[in-house]
């Protein structure tokens, strides 16, 4: 390589100071929040709350059950075994999950997954061969490849960095199914992190007994390093604060969560009161648990003063 190339490489490698980026992030957040206030009025939290309360699991499960009743179950497990090179389309009746407000529709060879009251799909599911799986995982810009061993079914997760207007990350989940793979895809932020993991961690596949882990499950959201329980439902998620409904709250579970966070490398900041504060690499996360709500407040060190 010539020295001239090296000069360009040096310029390419120039990284803006992390401190400036953090300050800029804080400043940008304040600007767009202020700008957005005028547009949105006073709605989000109560709207979400109302929605979640109104949508009972019976509605979703009932919807899926109704489809189950109407579907012909006979061809699900391969059907004609003498003639099997073709991958069988997935059937709606094979799946259910605990996440409310998210449902599937049968389309072509798979399922298209929607959020209630949204026209744009948030994901899809289909059966893929080993070769197709290889192709998928090697074609995109996959940044995370992880085994979710303690989930109901052994699951491989890949996170793809997607540069689209309405999608930033694409989650790919592969669950082994004989020689093939059941393949789920979800787009973030069409579906929030907590919703994606809530769905996958409560997935049930017909005629396949799910593994029930004897401890709560935790995951990272996106590329983050902070752990979150999988049984969360978003109420409001903002840059500096997130409120989630915690589906299985208990004193014991909260203590377990705190233990897990400490074990994952986050330092607990001594303090009194209901809030528990953790710090790691310049990020401070304060957690408070109230009834069925977990509230997270995020701060970054070296921020400009308000």
């Amino acid at each position: 390589m010539s020295k001239s190339h090296e000069d360009w490489d040096e310029l390419k490698s120039y990284a803006p100071p992390e401190e400036a980026k953090e300050n800029g992030r804080h400043r940008l957040w304040k600007s767009i929040r202020n700008e957005g206030e005028g547009l949105k009025g006073n709605k989000t939290k109560n709207k979400w709350r109302g929605l979640i309360t109104a949508c009972s699991s019976i509605l979703v499960c009932g919807g899926l059950l109704a489809v189950i009743m109407n579907n012909n179950l006979s061809g699900q497990n391969g059907g004609d075994e003498g003639n099997q090179p073709e991958i069988q389309p997935l059937d709606l009746s094979q799946f259910s999950w605990g996440l409310e407000g998210v449902y599937a529709k049968k389309e072509a060879e798979g399922l298209v997954i929607y959020k209630e009251n949204e026209e744009v799909p948030v994901g899809n599911a289909r059966l893929v061969s080993e070769e197709e799986k290889e192709e998928i995982t090697q074609s995109g810009a996959m940044y995370v490849d992880k085994q979710l061993a303690e989930f109901p079914y052994p699951t491989e997760m890949y996170i793809e960095h997607v540069k689209m207007k309405d999608t930033v990350l694409r989650y790919h989940f592969f669950i082994p199914d004989h020689e093939d793979w059941i393949y789920f895809v979800f787009d973030y932020p069409k579906l929030e992190y907590a919703e994606i993991f809530n769905l996958i961690s409560t997935l049930k596949i017909q005629d396949r007994e799910p593994y029930i882990h004897n401890e709560p499950l935790y995951v990272n959201h996106g590329y983050g390093i902070f752990l979150y329980p999988t049984d969360l439902i978003p109420v409001t998620v903002e840059y500096d604060e997130a409120v989630y409904i915690w589906e299985n709250p208990s004193q014991e579970s909260f203590a377990h969560y705190v233990e897990k966070l400490e074990a994952s490398g986050w330092s607990r900041v001594p303090g009194i009161g209901k809030e528990i504060t953790f710090e790691s690499s310049g990020e401070i996360v304060e957690i408070s648990w109230n009834d069925d709500e977990l509230v997270y407040k995020y701060q970054y060190t070296n921020q400009e003063d308000e």
Binding site: W8, L11, G24, R25, T44, E238
Partner: protein
């Protein structure tokens, strides 16, 4: 939806901050203003997100916003001497002192000085191509030019840069392909 929009722009910020920052910094050579303009780029993106269509990528769209801001700035003022620290003059204090970064990088400093002397259009294509690694197609989208015009301008810009460095007795400038 408003929440999603904000979240989306914050995600874009995390993904493209470095690229946009480098582009603005090397176009204007002013770190203090650079931080302001990076901020303005993302605020404008937020305000215009409804009108963004998927014909271009988010990256080229953000670059095109930054380009307008930069050109506007160049037009508005008699541009402050780019990379004035190369002459030992202190810039407006910022969070990071680029002089430190350039220490022991004499050739890089020289290259920046030569880039500074290019006319804005040349500077833009040189930076987009060689530093931000944009393809001709992406540059055409950002600059709203034809690809042919991009290639022609880039070729002239690189030639101009090479001649300038040769005159100084510097090394050959090679276009990274």
């Amino acid at each position: 939806m408003e929440k999603d929009k904000r979240q989306l722009v914050m995600e874009w910020y995390d993904l493209y901050y470095d690229d946009i920052y480098r582009f603005i910094l090397f176009m204007l050579g002013d770190q203090q203003v650079c931080e302001d303009f990076v901020h303005d780029t993302f605020v404008r993106a937020y305000a215009a997100v409804e009108g963004f269509d998927n014909r271009s990528s988010v990256k080229t769209w953000l670059f095109s916003i930054a380009k307008h801001i930069v050109l506007d700035e160049i037009r508005k003022r008699k541009r402050r001497s780019l990379f004035s620290f190369t002459n030992g003059v202190k810039e407006i204090p910022s969070l990071f002192n680029m002089e430190e970064w350039l220490e022991n990088r004499e050739e890089v400093r020289q290259l920046l000085t030569e880039i500074e002397k290019l006319r804005p259009n040349y500077r833009m294509v040189v930076i987009l191509k060689n530093i931000d690694e944009c393809s001709s197609k992406e540059m055409a989208e950002i600059l709203n030019w034809s690809e042919a015009k991009v290639r022609k301008t880039l070729s002239r810009a690189m030639k101009s840069l090479k001649e300038s460095r040769d005159r100084k007795g510097g090394r050959q400038i090679e276009q990274i392909t």
